[in-house]
Symmetry: C2
Subunit: 116 residues, 2 copies
């Protein structure tokens, strides 16, 4: 892996993780914060694809920032915790809803990015 690309991914990743943590502190509602970052990060990733810019800046934004801003592990943990708390409908809604909204956000983001 080229050093510049690794640095770009690492810097984008640090920024993305801190931004996700900040959203979590601001929203303060379990699963909702993670749902928001996952859908918004998927939209941003789509925009970057649609806009089709390249090189280290693109990798920093997509693989670095969007990759780290969004998260599958927190999403999975929160879904399991909702189910363990007996909120099975909320758990299923979180799983299916996040998935559907993120896929839609990618489509929308690509269209938005292409129109830029």
């Amino acid at each position: 892996m080229a050093l510049l690309t690794a640095l770009a991914v690492g810097a984008g990743g640090a920024a993305g993780a801190v931004a996700r943590y900040a959203v979590g502190l601001s929203v303060g509602r379990r699963a909702v914060d993670t749902g928001l970052v996952n859908v918004f990060g998927s939209l941003l990733f789509g925009v970057a694809i649609g806009a089709d810019f390249g090189g280290a800046p693109a990798v920093a934004v997509t693989v670095g920032f969007c990759g780290a801003f969004t998260t599958f592990s927190s999403f999975a943990v929160e879904t399991v915790r909702l189910a363990e708390d007996g909120q099975r409908l909320a758990a299923a809604g979180n799983a299916v809803g996040t998935l559907a909204a993120a896929l839609l956000a990618v489509f929308l983001g690509i269209a938005l990015g292409a129109a830029l």
Copy 2:
């Protein structure tokens, strides 16, 4: 947000994003690499919960590293791309399979962590 916690999340996030990028380069097969990091990162997040250690190191590992190592945006983008390429079964399998495997990994991880 406390500065120490933000630094822990940022450092963990940088490491997680670079590790995810390295897995992507090593595996080199679209969606498979992301599926692997999402399931393994969910397992590790579960282990950290089960082991129940606290403070900045725990936040660095869970919110920082696991959060950034796993990704929802790349997962969503790759699912959309598989569907766009006409591989609808692979797209559906990727979506449902990653979700099921990650939820199972969280359960397994919590049990493993509690047994440590």
